[in-house]
Symmetry: C2
Subunit: 325 residues, 2 copies
Amino acid sequence: MVTIKDVAKEAGLAVGTVSRVMNNRGYISDSARKKVEEAMRKLNYHPNEMARSLQKKYTNTIGVIVPIIDHPYFAKLVSCLVQEAYRQDKKIQLLSSGGLETKEAEFIELCHRNLVSGIILCNGSIDVASFDNLQIPVVTIERKKEGDSPSIECDNWQGGVLAVEHLVERGCKNLLHVSGHTEKNMPADVRGNAFLETCARKKVQGKVVSKQLKRYELPDSDQFISSMLDQFPDTDGIFVSNDIIAVMVLEICKRRGLRVPEDIKIVGFDDLNITRWTYPQITTIRQPMEEMARAALDLLEKSQKKKPVASRTVLPVSLVVRGTS
Amino acid sequence: MVTIKDVAKEAGLAVGTVSRVMNNRGYISDSARKKVEEAMRKLNYHPNEMARSLQKKYTNTIGVIVPIIDHPYFAKLVSCLVQEAYRQDKKIQLLSSGGLETKEAEFIELCHRNLVSGIILCNGSIDVASFDNLQIPVVTIERKKEGDSPSIECDNWQGGVLAVEHLVERGCKNLLHVSGHTEKNMPADVRGNAFLETCARKKVQGKVVSKQLKRYELPDSDQFISSMLDQFPDTDGIFVSNDIIAVMVLEICKRRGLRVPEDIKIVGFDDLNITRWTYPQITTIRQPMEEMARAALDLLEKSQKKKPVASRTVLPVSLVVRGTS
C-alpha cells in the first residue's frame, strides 16, 4: 500500500508539506502543490479517510433513519440530506425502518458501532431518551416529540393558517380539512388545529375529517374521500394535510363532475413533485426541506463540538399557488 | 474508551472467547455468551466496526451513485439497494450526481478514499473504463454500456414484446410508443425496437415517437403528447416507456374526452407507486428492482472475493394488468 511517506519521497518534499497539501491547511506554494499532486497521481495514492477517522475516534458519517425511502416525501427529504451532507463534506449512512420501533433501536445501535458522528431520525416513534448513554448527538425531523433530542420542524401551524386564509381569499365559505394520520402526537397534528382556529377567525365553516393510515402505507382512500364529500356536499374548499392525499382528492372531485378550481378548491401540504404532474397542478404549502436538512446537519456539527444548540427549530413554510385554487 | 480486554476482564473470560461471541464464530457456550453480553451491556461497550475495517483494508460499505434521489424510479431503486444491503450486513454510502459526469468522477474518487468495497453506478454516463486502476469492483444498473464493468439490466426487449402482445390481445390495432430519452445508447432503448418488431409480427400499425428530455428532469410533456395524439388520431393503444410519462398520457387522454380503457389503452414501464394513484390505475411492465438490487450486491461480493462474475445479467420483467388496458 502506498503511504504518505512514498508520496513525499516521490515529490522530493517533507511529509509535513504533503500533509498540508492533502488537508489544504496552512501555507502551500503552487509548485509544492503541483509536485504533490503529480506524485499522488503517479503512485495512484488515495488518502485513506478511514485511518484518519480512527485517529479522530469518529467518522464524518451521519446515520439517517427514515421509515421508508420509496415515498415522495421521504425521497425528497433524503435527497436534501444527501446533497447538504455532500456540501458539508460528510457522508450519509441511510437506513429504512419501515416505521418499526425494533428496527429503529437496532439501527441506532448499528450507527453507534459504525462510529457515526450523529444520527438524524426522520419521523418514527422510538423514545430517543432510552438511548441516552449513546453519547452520539441525535436530531429529529418532523417527529413525535418525546425525550429531549433537539427537533427540526416546519411551521405546521403557519401552514394551516396560510391554507385557510388563501381559500377564504379565493371566496370559499365551507372548508374541509382532510388529514392522514400515521402516528399520534406528530408535529403535523397542529395543521388541523390551525385550520379550525383560522376558520373561526375568518367566520367560515370548517370541518376536520381524518383517515387513520397504516404506518407509511400509501393511501387507498377513495371510498373515504368520496363519503366525506357525500357527508359535506356544500364543501367549496379542501385543505389536505399532505400532497399524496391531495392528488387523490383532486382525482375524486373530477370523477364526481366537480370542476377544480371553479366548483371546489384544493390546497395540499409539502410541495412534492407529484403536485406538478396533475391537471390542474396542485396549490400547496411548501415545507422547506432543503433548509430543514441544512439545519439538522448544522445542529449535529454544533453538538459534536459541544456548542449549545436550540432544542426546537421551527422553519417557516410558504404558500405555492397553482391551478387548484 | 472501553476495549475488548475490559469486557473480557469483566466477564472473567479470555479475550479470544469474547471475540468469538462478538463475531459469532466457532463454538461458544450459552453461559459464556450470556456473560459476555452482560459485560458488554454493563460497560456500555460497542464493538468498533471501523477498527475492524481498517485491519481488513476495506469497509463493508458500498458506494451507490444515482443521478437523482427525489424521483419515483430512483427512490425505489435506492430503497431496494438499502434494504438488500441491510440484509447482507452492508452499508450504503449514497451520492447523487445530477447526471453530471464531473460529479460522477468526483464521487468515484470519493468512494475510493472512503475504502468502499464496491461501487454501484445507476444510470449515468461516465466511462467506467477510465477508472480501471481503482481496483474496486464496479457494477452498473440500467446504464449506458461502455467499458467492461459488469451490468445489471431488466429485460427491456421482453418488456416491449409483452406490452404490444397485451395491447393486441385487448383488441388494439393502431399502436403508438412514446419514449422519453435522457441519454443515448441506454439499455431502455431496445423497448422501442421490440415494440416495432412485435407490431410487425402481430400485423398491427406501430409508430414510435420520442421526446428528448433534459437530464433526469421530470417531464413537462403536455404539448408534445397532445400533438402526437393530433398527428395519430386513430391510436387505440399506447405503450409508454416509463410510468411518469404514462401518468401524463392518461391525464391528457382524459382531458381530450377519450375514455380509458374503452377508447384508448395505456401500458407504462417500471411499476412505480404512482401507477396506483391514478384513475384508472395504470397497467405496466414491472422492472424487478428488488432482484436487480440483490444481483448487484451479490456480484460485488463475488468480485471482491475474486470469483468470476457475469459480464451482463438480464432479469425478466412481467406484465402487471391494471385499469388502463
